[in-house]
Each structure stands twice: as structure tokens, then as C-alpha cells.
Amino acid sequence: MSAPLAQLRIREDPTESCEADNGFCPDWIADNFDRYVDPFFEHVYLTVVAVAIGFAISFALALIAYRRRWLVSPITQVTGILYTIPSIAAFFLLLPLTGRGKTTALIALVAYVLLIIFRNVLAGLDNVPDETKDAGRGMGLTDRQLLWRVEVPLALPEIMAGLRIAVTTTVGLATLAFFAGAGGLGGQIFSDITFKSNVVVAGGLAVLLAAALDGLILLVQRGITPWTRAVAAR
């Protein structure tokens, strides 16, 4: 039974439209914005999880190295190498070990932020004035209390600065995560690299995400270190 099918509707005239010219088309963007939503959230996930894990690791390392100075150099060297290896190379170096997917991407992204945060936490702690530490000890604080009640809070501006750098660069690197099979806005950019609307929206969303997260951390920083505002006024 093969009765004739209906015909596909063929276009008559040559297509003249903004999209056909690969231009920047606000109408098309408005109609098709939903295709950027999932990649955007994948991107947020990759960034936030990578920075969170990286922060947890580096912060711990910095606290350890703060008390055992001999560790500073080796940790800096190792995290430095991890930092220098380009992420896209890292994705494929990890491929034999961890395969394609979010895990591989996350490992590479975490490896990248380790140096930044480690260095900044350590610098922040090192910059706490000796007098303040002496005063604290004079008040009878133990080493642990000194650390958590004096040194870390005073190191916060430096730590947050490092966090901001880590977050913005991770958003950038996460655009390459699709090479590792982890999705994100980069996959969307890559899917039509000559279509201006696509590149501008996907790229623009990445930049906005970086700016938003940066601003968010800045707000949090202002919130939890009110004393720095008075200092900055100088």
C-alpha cells in the first residue's frame, strides 16, 4: 500500500532574510533563545562546581603550607604546571583516564584554578600585620583561634580577589568544555561559528555570566568584610 505522500513545502523565491545572511538578527534571537538555556545552565554548573572544588583543595593546601613553609615551593611548582597546561590539551590528556564527559572537564578546570587560589590565600595570610597577630596572641588566642578569628578574616580581601579571578577565567575555559563532551555554551558557539547572532548571544551570555559571578563575589566580599570599606576610602 503506497499511496502518494503529501509534498514538502518548497520555497519559491530565494530566501532573503537576516538569518540567511548570517547576520545579527534580534527577531531570530528572541524566537530561538530557548536553545541557549540548557547550555547556559551546563556552563553555570561547570564553573561553580569546578571553582568550589578547586577552592576547597587550594584553601586547605594554603593553610597547611602556611604553617609548613617548606611546602610552599613544591605546591606552587605543581599547581603552576597544572595552571600552565592549556585546558584543551588537558581534556585530551585526561581522555584515556577519565573518558569523555563532565568529569574530565571538571578535573581540568579544577586543576587550572588551584594555583590562583593557593597563591592568593597564602598571600592574604602572609599580609596580616605582625602587630595584629601579636595582639591576638597577647589576648590569649590559641594558634587555631588566631587563624580563624584573625588571620583568615583579614586575608579575606586577597582570598576573594583570587576567587574572582578564578571564577572569571573558569567561565572562559568552560567554553572549551564541549571538546571533552561536557556541554556548555561553547558547544553552542561551535555549532554555527559563522552565524553572527549565534556567536554574539552564546559568547555574550558567557561574558555576562563571568561579570555576574564576579559582581556577586564582590558583593559577598563587601558584605563579610565591612572594615575594608573604611580602609579603602584612604
Binding site: I88, F92, L93, T169, F179, I189, A210
Partner: protein, 240 residues
């Protein structure tokens, strides 16, 4: 245990690829071997070098001038923050979409990528020069240009090199995705894996990683070389 052997095996194949030419998995051509790896690396270096050269030629004079006059600080310092927020893939895609593929279009994109760290670090480097030193130089009758050239520039050199180092590593890393814009760098086996095979892709990843590390280490050594001994003690790493 077998997974370890499998993984080591894959890395072994990749190293093989670097040294031995072989038939492409897609058939019909020879890939791999030192000759090909060198050709890819040369293209990679050419692109990176061109971008770094142009970016430095632009950023260092501007950074010196802004730092010397004390103007444009906001721009110079935040250039890095803004630059950091733009993903390299987005930058390259933007240029491909608006200008098309090609060596100079891509170089332009990489120049934009390289400018912020160099500019910010040059500016900061000059600002960090002790004001007294500058004042005494002025007192000795030096003109602005002479002060920049003979006092500020030499003292800012470590930070300037720091910025160049940061940019160079970024540019070398980004040149890996140059094949998206039609330039065949070391990234070709990674992006166009079909022609080279999985070993080729891993081989390229290894070489790119090594190239980045070598760039970093050699420029770091250069940076240490230009740092006057007295300054080595108190220098903090500027923007990343």
C-alpha cells in the same frame, strides 16, 4: 592493573606518533612523524609570535605612557578584568563570524587576547617605581621620555615581562583552537582528529602542553634575569 597498562599503552602510541610517520586512519595520506609535528609547531609558533609581537608593540608603549603620566589607570587596570571575562573561543568565533577565516584575522583576535595582561602589568610596573627615584631623575634635568626610558622602563621590566609571560602562555594555548579559523597549528590533530587518529590527538595534546610549559619556564627565567637583585625580594605577582 590492565587499565593502567591500557592507559600507558595509549600514551606510548601517542609518543610513537610524534616520531614515526604512518598511514592516516582515514587513508590516503601520511601523518605523524617529526617532520609533520615540526610543521604544525612552526605554524603554531608563527601565529603566537606574530600576535605577541604586535600586542607587545602596542601595549608596552601605551602602558609606559599611561603609567608615567598617571592617567588612564582605570582603563589599564581593568583591561585585564574585562579581558579575562571574554572566553577565547568566543573571541575567535566572533572574528570568524564578522571577518572570516585567515591568518591575519586570527592574529588580530589573538592580539586582542594578549594586550590586557601586558598593558595592565606595564602600567602597574611603572606606577610601582619609587616616586623619589623619578623625582630625582626629573631634578637631574631628564625629560619625560628620558625618564621613561632610563628610569621607569628598566625598573618596570620585571612586571612587564610578567605580563608578557602571562599573555604568551594564553596565546600559545589559544593557538590550539586556530584550526577553527583555518590555520593549521598543533591544534589540528585535536580538532580534526579523523585525519590523524586518536594517537595523533593525544600526541598533539602532549606537545601543546610541553610547549606551554616551556614558554612559561623560559619567560619566567627571562623575567628573573631582568629583575635587579634588590627588587626580587619584594615583588608580588601582578594580575594573572
Amino acid at each position: 592493573m590492565s587499565t593502567t597498562m591500557a592507559v600507558l599503552g595509549e600514551f606510548g602510541d601517542a609518543v610513537d606518533f610524534i616520531f614515526d610517520e604512518r598511514e592516516s586512519p582515514a587513508g590516503g595520506a601520511r601523518v605523524g612523524g617529526l617532520g609533520e609535528m615540526w610543521e604544525l609547531m612552526w605554524e603554531h609558533l608563527k601565529l603566537s609570535g606574530a600576535a605577541m609581537g604586535i600586542a607587545s608593540a602596542i601595549s608596552v608603549p601605551i602602558g609606559l605612557w599611561l603609567g608615567h603620566t598617571g592617567r588612564g589607570g582605570f582603563l589599564a587596570i581593568n583591561a585585564s578584568n574585562v579581558g579575562r571575562a571574554v572566553p577565547t573561543l568566543a573571541l575567535i568565533a566572533f572574528f570568524v563570524a564578522f571577518l572570516g577565516v585567515g591568518f591575519w584575522n586570527l592574529t588580530l583576535a589573538l592580539v586582542l587576547l594578549a594586550i590586557p595582561p601586558i598593558l595592565t602589568n606595564t602600567y602597574t610596573g611603572v606606577r610601582q617605581v619609587d616616586r623619589d627615584t623619578v623625582d630625582s631623575a626629573r631634578g637631574m634635568g631628564m625629560t619625560g621620555v628620558q625618564i621613561v626610558r632610563r628610569v621607569e622602563l628598566p625598573l618596570a621590566l620585571p612586571l612587564i615581562f610578567g605580563g608578557i609571560r602571562i599573555s604568551a602562555v594564553n596565546v600559545v594555548a589559544t593557538a590550539t583552537i586556530a584550526p577553527l579559523a583555518g590555520i593549521v597549528t598543533l591544534g589540528d590533530p585535536i580538532i580534526n582528529v579523523n585525519t590523524y587518529g586518536d594517537e595523533g590527538r593525544l600526541a598533539a595534546a602532549i606537545v601543546v602542553a610541553l610547549l606551554a610549559v616551556v614558554t612559561e619556564v623560559s619567560l619566567a627565567a627571562l623575567q628573573r634575569g631582568v629583575t635587579p637583585r634588590g627588587l626580587k625580594l619584594d615583588r608580588r605577582e601582578a594580575t594573572t
